[in-house]
Amino acid sequence: MRSATGNKLREACLVIAALLIMGGGILVKSETLTGRDPRPTEELMYFPSGTFVRQSAMGQESALADIAWLRAIQYYGHHRLTDRRYDMIGHVFDVITTLDPQFVQAYVFGAVVLSQDAGKTKEALDLLRKGMRNNPEDWFLAFETGFVYYMVLHDYRSAARYFTLSSRLPDSPEFTSRFAAFVEEKAGRPETALELWKQVAAASKNKYIKEIAEEKAKKLEAEMAREKKAAHRAESL
């Protein structure tokens, strides 16, 4: 009886000791290791090339692309809330699309972030061209390319060409041919740009793309209202 009690006591002591040791470990970790958030930029510098990861994926390329996609979203979200610097974003989207060449949303989101937030229009267009090479039947990629040409580069001729191409691809919605006509007739007008942003906001399921598009549309609307006001004032004078 005494030995059974002694055993129980010894076990209880061991459990307490284990908990204390683990608690100590957690304390050390929270004191020294957490809060030392490594800059996501530095972290992503070690992302290997897409070709290398694809070769070593052993048939799990698509699942690895998803993991990289989740990392890319975290990276973008973190920088969007802090310094708005997106140094490694092009590399990460290149890795994702090399692992899963049919991942259309990765091309589109990558291009929006690169062209609108990172100011890397050439990289955005390269990513979209890679997408079109891998998915020649996808209307969305051609539309997005036209969009970048229109909004960022103000190259209305190229934009019209891509909008027309998009409208001719299978399953393209009606608005692609509408924009092709718009750009031909009303290139450079803020109404066309506003309509384009509104269309992007309505068509996208991606929270961040929606936010960017709505933000830009609001800005444009405010600018247009200001210009209208100024014109009215000039007329009344």
């Binding site: 052993m58 048939g59 799990q60 692309a65 996609w69 049919q102």
Partner: protein
């Protein structure tokens, strides 16, 4: 009949193995966990569920083979139960075939449970029942059959640990066999080219069974593709099993 009895016994033995349940639980948690990650995926939650679900079938199926099939024959030798079996009117090739079929049955159970959970998760996410996922799951099962036959082959003449290592090496190489052919075309020596081509045909080409990306992106997987891959997988497995039976029948048990 004797083959069926050995297969049934192997299947029962596999079901008694606790590591099988650990693997199944892990994969189910992984599939269900993708629904938790879904809000972070910016509208790509369904894609991630399908990708991770199909990859889990392939990966955990392969782990099950390494854990269980790699020791299928050697365990019997180690425990000396092989003497009891072979002292009865059981041919050695029947023993090998029975072991393979028993493990194949256990793998059917694993794949069905995982596919069922994946489809349920998709239904719960309002993505609907996906036939393409079933097709990809079926070809993954054929891939697992090929790997099981290879595990049985190694198990028939080496230890459990070595069989597991060799089987895993074949799994890795099986995903690179296409590259061997590309490599061959760039070699200057004609002899080296022939060696590479020979290796390309001898090693299993596991990428033939990988239609997971097609299933996830909604690209149709044709019946011809499924039939051709199934025929390749079954013929390859039969070839490997014949080899295993020949090697096993040459073994001298003392």
């Amino acid at each position: 009949m004797r083959v069926v009895a050995i297969a049934r016994n192997t299947f029962r033995e596999a079901l008694r193995d606790k590591s099988l349940y650990v693997l199944i639980v892990f994969s189910l948690v992984l599939v269900l966990g993708t629904r938790v990650m879904s809000p972070l995926a910016l509208g790509e939650g369904i894609k991630i569920t399908k990708d991770i679900g199909l990859s889990a079938i392939s990966f955990f199926g392969m782990l099950a083979i390494i854990v269980m099939a790699a020791g299928l024959v050697h365990k019997e030798i180690d425990k000396r139960t092989i003497f009891v079996i072979l002292s009865k009117p059981v041919a050695r090739h029947e023993f090998i075939i029975g072991k393979f079929l028993g493990m194949a049955d256990a793998l059917v159970a694993i794949v069905i449970v995982m596919l069922f959970t994946l489809q349920l998760t998709l239904l719960a996410s309002r993505a609907g029942f996906d036939v393409l996922v079933l097709k990809a799951g079926f070809l993954t099962y054929i891939e697992l059959l090929v790997m099981t036959s290879i595990a049985v082959l190694f198990s028939s003449f080496s230890t459990t640990a070595l069989s597991a290592i060799f089987t895993f090496c074949f799994y890795v190489v099986g995903h690179f066999s296409g590259d061997v052919l590309v490599f061959a075309s760039r070699l200057p020596s004609a002899f080296a080219q022939h060696v590479c081509r020979f290796l390309y045909y001898v090693l299993p080409d596991l990428q033939v069974f990988n239609v997971r990306s097609m299933a996830v992106h909604g690209t149709d997987i044709s019946a011809e593709r499924i039939l051709a891959a199934t025929a390749y997988g079954l013929l390859y497995s039969i070839g490997v099993l014949i080899l295993a039976a020949v090697l096993f029948s040459r073994r001298d048990f003392k």
